[in-house]
Symmetry: D2
Subunit: 334 residues, 4 copies
Amino acid sequence: MELKIGVIGTGAIGQDHIRRFTNKVKGAKVVAVTDIHVERAEQIAQEVGAKFVKTGEELISLPEVDAVVVTSWDPTHEQYVLEAINHNKYVFCEKPLSVETEGCKRIVDAEVKLGKRLVQVGFMRRYDRGYMELKEIIDSGKLGEVLMLHCAHRNVSSGENYDTLMAIVNSAVHEIDVLRWLLNEDYVAAQVIMPKKTSNTHEKLHDPQVLILETESGIHIDVEIFVNCKYGYDIKCEVVCEDGVVSLSNPSYSSIRTAGKDFTGIPIDWEQRFEAAYEQELQLWVDSVTADEMNGPTAWDGYVASVTTTAGTEARETGKRVEIKIDKCPDLYK
Amino acid sequence: MELKIGVIGTGAIGQDHIRRFTNKVKGAKVVAVTDIHVERAEQIAQEVGAKFVKTGEELISLPEVDAVVVTSWDPTHEQYVLEAINHNKYVFCEKPLSVETEGCKRIVDAEVKLGKRLVQVGFMRRYDRGYMELKEIIDSGKLGEVLMLHCAHRNVSSGENYDTLMAIVNSAVHEIDVLRWLLNEDYVAAQVIMPKKTSNTHEKLHDPQVLILETESGIHIDVEIFVNCKYGYDIKCEVVCEDGVVSLSNPSYSSIRTAGKDFTGIPIDWEQRFEAAYEQELQLWVDSVTADEMNGPTAWDGYVASVTTTAGTEARETGKRVEIKIDKCPDLYK
Amino acid sequence: MELKIGVIGTGAIGQDHIRRFTNKVKGAKVVAVTDIHVERAEQIAQEVGAKFVKTGEELISLPEVDAVVVTSWDPTHEQYVLEAINHNKYVFCEKPLSVETEGCKRIVDAEVKLGKRLVQVGFMRRYDRGYMELKEIIDSGKLGEVLMLHCAHRNVSSGENYDTLMAIVNSAVHEIDVLRWLLNEDYVAAQVIMPKKTSNTHEKLHDPQVLILETESGIHIDVEIFVNCKYGYDIKCEVVCEDGVVSLSNPSYSSIRTAGKDFTGIPIDWEQRFEAAYEQELQLWVDSVTADEMNGPTAWDGYVASVTTTAGTEARETGKRVEIKIDKCPDLYK
Amino acid sequence: MELKIGVIGTGAIGQDHIRRFTNKVKGAKVVAVTDIHVERAEQIAQEVGAKFVKTGEELISLPEVDAVVVTSWDPTHEQYVLEAINHNKYVFCEKPLSVETEGCKRIVDAEVKLGKRLVQVGFMRRYDRGYMELKEIIDSGKLGEVLMLHCAHRNVSSGENYDTLMAIVNSAVHEIDVLRWLLNEDYVAAQVIMPKKTSNTHEKLHDPQVLILETESGIHIDVEIFVNCKYGYDIKCEVVCEDGVVSLSNPSYSSIRTAGKDFTGIPIDWEQRFEAAYEQELQLWVDSVTADEMNGPTAWDGYVASVTTTAGTEARETGKRVEIKIDKCPDLYK
């Protein structure tokens, strides 16, 4: 008995997920797709033997759709998630859960009213083996209390539409989620430093940026966001504890010595770096839906990420330290 | 439409494969199992919703079994593989294909007579990302001709029944297969050196051993086999070419600095080290069976491995260089 | 013809330098020593065949003393350096040049008045092979403009007398000097963040601290100072440029695999880490004195370090960003 | 009081040593030089303020020469070493001690007759920090008994005159000395394997070669000698023990990430790799001569190296395992 999935949005990330459900994820198949780009969606539907439907709402209401995946344009996420909740269907939504904190809140409220968690947000770093090893060490207490985290989020290059705002809202949001998951605590303040700008990008983007976060217990976090670093896709996370340091590695499977250099390759993008995490994320989501018990990143996590990126944006605009105020967490998410 | 698999032999490796088919491999399910340990096999059958049958022959003949997996006691491999061929069913057989070179030959002959490849041998190293990267570099010619390979096969410890013979026949056989696949050429001679023996094992095992192989084009290979190295499961492969060196890495996902040491962990066994390769092996086998076109290690590869391990054994016993004579390869395998 | 050196102060660092001059530095010997701890100084004098004299002033005035090394109590540095300048003798002074910025200024003024550089300050990081490689890459322009530096200064543990003030004034001062030397530009602002405090130290020390510096061209620098990190002496410096990153390595000469770990050792203190840099520093100082032409860190560098640590201290006390105002650099130091 | 040194032979290595004695080695100076290339030697003499003399014999007999360094053409080593012994002067001789085993024996006999060790052979690997760390670990017994060593000796390229013979006699001789020093035991047999030949060299050289050695206690050693590896100067030594492995590192001081690669540089020659070892070797030699007590590699070590390289050569020529027979070691060298 395979889980029958409907996918709303067949852009790049939607296609990747469809490919994973079709070729890799055990116990699931895609049965319906939709997109405003009809032709592309119809073709994909045909390739994987799914039905094409005209709207997300229609897809959600199909009786043969057991669970929904939302990979549409960011501003439409909220409406589809709410609709899925209305139909009492599990829904996996790519980040952001909503482009507005209030939208995240509306989703949280809907789940709380229903009294059941149906939503998972696509924060896939939590499924990376490296981050999982970091969490295991931190939770073990072997290195004592965490004091500081030094992180970097580096992309080879960013597109034309990527602007100054997106460095925190679209890129650092991954660190914002995964670090509070690692630490089991929330942020209380944000600050943003704008270093000298690289000449390798356009006018509308100030790149790099440094986001500084402070947690409830006083842990200091700095996250460099540098989306035109040119040399590779490189994610760093160094956790400095009282009795030692644990750091994320860039996994390598072979190394080469030639022409005076001893080197390993660096991934060129997130798929190369995190493909296994994406597959694990979707496999475990399918398993948890099948078991009727959510265990991934929640709507609440989506809300907290939104509050934090909003504070980060204010901190960048004002150049000041901005306090982060998070509502009381409903029991549903504890 | 899932591929329906029957598994003969529910010992450790059989159980691992059943678990993989059940939880990880897309497009397959286990429908029948058998083992001479009836109780264990019955319990496993029940857990995964498969039928228990009394014999391998019965299992192979079941109409609902599309393809067969042989993970039984080594001396029984040949008979089940031949039986599967008789039933014109695809069969995945763990190494060794047969405990005798003549047995491997009989399987090859049966396939040749049938005119179709049905057999895949469980040489899973070919599916490891590290070895695949090595092969890509070698085949690209970027580093020139391969001249030498320095390899090591180290296990934490070996069991009571592991004896001097098995170092080559059961352990180095993995290198014997993967290295000729890497190099696209066969071996012409073997020599074995017996270094000082570790005190960390029993009487019946001389550990470590060094197997030296020479290929058709003159490439020199040394393989250290050390199955009681105590510190971890460690597989090394350094390929020395005319213009550079490419080496297998021990992938790590995090590193720790504490108590004066900067360290990464070492796997404790092959499952930790090669789990992704096992899953990939079985996934691609299922995909190729479904596509009705074998592309993994063949019965011929099983035969060549047997010829080579036999020569290695003679070399160890005589202390001499032993020539390796391989029959002409049938067209079916080219 | 060896350079005849007088050493003022025979505490730990003084003894280390005397040992280096005696056993390692070519072309120099220690001929006179002094210290307020008379007995210890007399014994050291005897061991190396030097004369013991009662005061620094007397030592400086000895005709047989060609050049002076000041390794006395920090608050006495200034007076001995000024006295050496009065006697027109070269003087190597351990950092700080003076405990007050005004004191550094007085030394600069004395040199400017004399019209000759006689003073070298003991900023030995500039002589470390790793930092020299970083400088070579930066200066080559191969990686484009420098945008950010992420640094850490970690000691195993600090003594009873090490307090909150010293993290910047005594520890980060090394980064303050070496980074502006690396970058060929000065700082314009400082900020200090106080993370969660480690439980592995005493009341009077807030450890760790994070010093954030901004340079003239807008380069962002963060320096973690953590003097009770417990695991080892660890100095990090990652230079993020437009087209790549260059990082300081912790040099290792061997690695070990045992008990499930693949590790290299971490130095326990600065002598283990920087011994070669200390020897190079003193050798080049002796060579430059012999050549009658200073080329190491100047009194001006000592002054700038003092201005910067003072701003860092104010930033820590106020929690605010503090501007760094440096006087116009005299021609003597350009 | 500096040790006054006479240098016989002002070719490349002679000049390097003169430079080290002049600029780096404490307590020594070069007072006399000679070479059959008179003009070059005269110029060097002038540069360092030494006397030029016409012959090695004359140099050795000069009353102002305290100790002799022999860096002349290999076939002349023996005569100068014997002459130095005749004059009861300490002599540092570059390897080989003599081009014939019998010549080494004559030197040993002369020392034994004199009853005093005057000779040190230039096996500088023993002074490399990496090898010293290996020895410390081995001697500590922490990893149990040594069972195997896997080594490689790789040069970027070899000159026109470097032929098949020299791979063992001139290159592997370094491993031959340093490994028996590491292990505290001698070799009993040698074998040589000739892998596929690189196309990056000339007719008279078969490159690479693999030298296999067996020690008294049964330790297996393989040494790859590859003097046209093109990519860098790379020395590997992996010591496999009962309870773990210790390996030589290629020390690096910085690393770079650019253009998809994470790399460290590889030295291009032995001076880059071993400069610190050369300096340490000469410093400790000067110290030991000054203390009138030799503690470096002896004439006996030079003799054993000669016996072993001779056996290696025979093994290469015959393709057979050749036993290594070493005379009884005189008490003088125990």
